[in-house]
């Protein structure tokens, strides 16, 4: 994935789309927008970085998982198998990008004391999250898989593309195959000198940022 910071309007639409797509409970975010400032008044610059799981090529969470619950698919998506997760939270601690969440409570309501809304009830059926396991962004693997089955191309066809990419009103997000030099994402990385966050960790993140 490539995120163009010059295009990002910090509208948080990606955050909301992700929550809707996966019916994420309160206080769980697989997509976040981290906002910072640099410089001193009056020369202050605001910086906003949409962040999500980096689906690292050398994912440290995959290495340290003692059960194999965190695994890397052939297409590079780092995915959780909830039935294998023991909830040791080593992956939560070890992720230098802090993009994993331990799902401790499955009864949190968006409107405390008023019970689950019909949408939350449907969400629990459609997208059950196992209590006591670690959850994280999966690049909307279900959408991608269904789309690919239909012969669609991830990043090109809407039905095979992650929700945050489709929902972005500024077209700041691009999705595709980093191993394909002809893909749009590969071209953008090369042409616009896109960079990942903290390459010094040696995790080879698959999310790149453009800031020029």
């Amino acid at each position: 994935m490539v995120i163009d910071l010059q295009r990002c309007a910090t509208c948080y639409n990606c955050v909301v789309a992700c929550k809707q797509e996966h019916f994420l409970p309160p206080w769980v975010f697989w997509n976040r927008v981290v906002v910072s400032e640099t410089g001193k008044f009056p020369m202050v610059t605001k910086i906003a970085y949409p962040v999500l799981c980096n689906h690292c090529k050398e994912a440290v969470c995959v290495k340290v998982c003692p059960t194999g619950a965190t695994h890397k698919r052939e297409d590079g998506i780092v995915e959780m198998i909830p039935d294998k997760c023991v909830g040791c939270r080593y992956c939560v601690v070890v992720c230098p990008y802090q993009q994993r969440t331990y799902h401790a409570h499955d009864n949190k309501e968006y409107f405390p004391g008023q019970g689950l809304t019909p949408l939350e009830i449907i969400g629990k059926k459609l997208y059950p999250l196992q209590k006591g396991t670690v959850i994280k962004c999966n690049f909307c693997a279900e959408r991608v898989d269904q789309g690919v089955k239909k012969g669609l191309k991830p990043g090109v066809d809407r039905e095979a593309t992650p929700a945050c990419v489709i929902a972005c009103p500024c077209s700041a997000r691009y999705f595709g195959d980093l191993d394909d030099p002809k893909s749009e994402v590969s071209k953008l990385i090369k042409e616009k000198k896109a960079y990942p966050l903290h390459p010094e960790y040696g995790t080879e993140p698959s999310v790149y940022y453009i800031n020029r």
Binding site: S36, E37, V64, C85, P96, H198
Partner: protein, 291 residues
């Protein structure tokens, strides 16, 4: 910290030290303590000490770890990836230690002095050392937290466990006798001096790893973790037990209540050292820090 400062400024690690993480903090410490008690008991040839170390590992280490897990019944899955995960390796050390020491205790009681007992003992020593140091390697892997990537950490944890072992063996010596108390006191004092030196080296080196490392050291020395560090680690863990040991060496045997206080202080020191390191772990910011 304010919510909007998350990963913009150095962000403290909470998963392994707050809420249910408290169980893991204790489990990490008692694992090292169990290994340390075993090694020291073996040195002073105390069968009761070995039994206590076994009980510490089975009941406390095993219990707290199991309670911490989100799905305790799936714990067997944690054996499956020793090729890459230090948690798997640690679990193997723990389970092997429990089995080996159990057989060793049975042999020592029913058929003492056999070759098999020696084999069990040698293997158990390896497992005890592994059990004491593996948490250091577990934490070394977290490269987002600069306080934890120091290579001093495994040695510090081993030393902390052995020091706790000296405390426990001192208690056993007072109950059962037959153990050279002066040797225990001298050993404790030497280890406390080494421990103090190692903590200084650890903090000094971590201070220069990077900005998050510096932030962590500041948090430990004069920030939110400072009371625990100075009172728990320095005063209870080093100064009080050192004074008690030194007084005992100079002026003969001290009252039992003071000896018990010193033992409790030593254990508190070990626990608070782990707590300080876990609590003082700050992640490097994701994006440039606000000024």
């Amino acid at each position: 910290m304010k919510l909007y400062e998350w990963m913009v400024k150095p962000t403290p690690q909470t998963e392994w030290v707050e809420k249910r993480g408290i169980l893991l903090w204790i489990a990490f410490y008692v694992g090292g303590l169990g290994g340390g008690v075993y090694l020291v008991s073996l040195y002073f040839n105390s069968l009761l000490g070995i039994l206590i170390s076994w009980l510490i590992v089975v009941v406390l280490k095993g219990g707290f770890h199991i309670l911490y897990l989100g799905h305790p019944l799936r714990f067997w899955r944690m054996f499956l990836r020793p090729q890459s995960s230090w948690i798997s390796r640690g679990l193997i050390f723990v389970v092997a230690f429990i089995g080996l020491v159990f057989v060793q205790l049975l042999l020592a009681y029913f058929k003492p002095g056999t070759g098999l007992e020696t084999v069990m003992m040698v293997l158990a020593v390896i497992m005890a050392v592994g059990m004491s140091i593996y948490t250091g390697f577990v934490m070394n892997y977290v490269n987002g937290i600069q306080l934890w990537i120091s290579s001093v950490l495994p040695f510090l944890f081993l030393l902390c466990g052995v020091l706790g072992g000296f405390g426990i063996i001192l208690g056993i010596a007072h109950i059962t006798g037959g153990i050279d108390i002066m040797a225990v006191e001298t050993g404790s004092m030497v280890l406390m001096i080494v421990m103090a030196g190692l903590i200084v080296i650890y903090l000094t080196s971590s201070r220069y790893i990077g900005p998050a490392g510096k932030e962590s050291v500041i948090a430990l020395v004069k920030g939110p973790v400072a009371p625990v560090f100075w009172i728990g680690v320095v005063l209870c863990g080093i100064i009080i037990p050192f004074i008690v040991s030194f007084s005992s060496l100079l002026g003969g045997e001290l009252p039992l209540s003071i000896q018990i206080l010193a033992i409790l202080c030593e254990i508190t020191g070990g626990l608070t050292l782990r707590y300080s390191i876990l609590k003082g772990g700050y992640y490097s910011p994701l994006i440039p820090v606000s000024t």
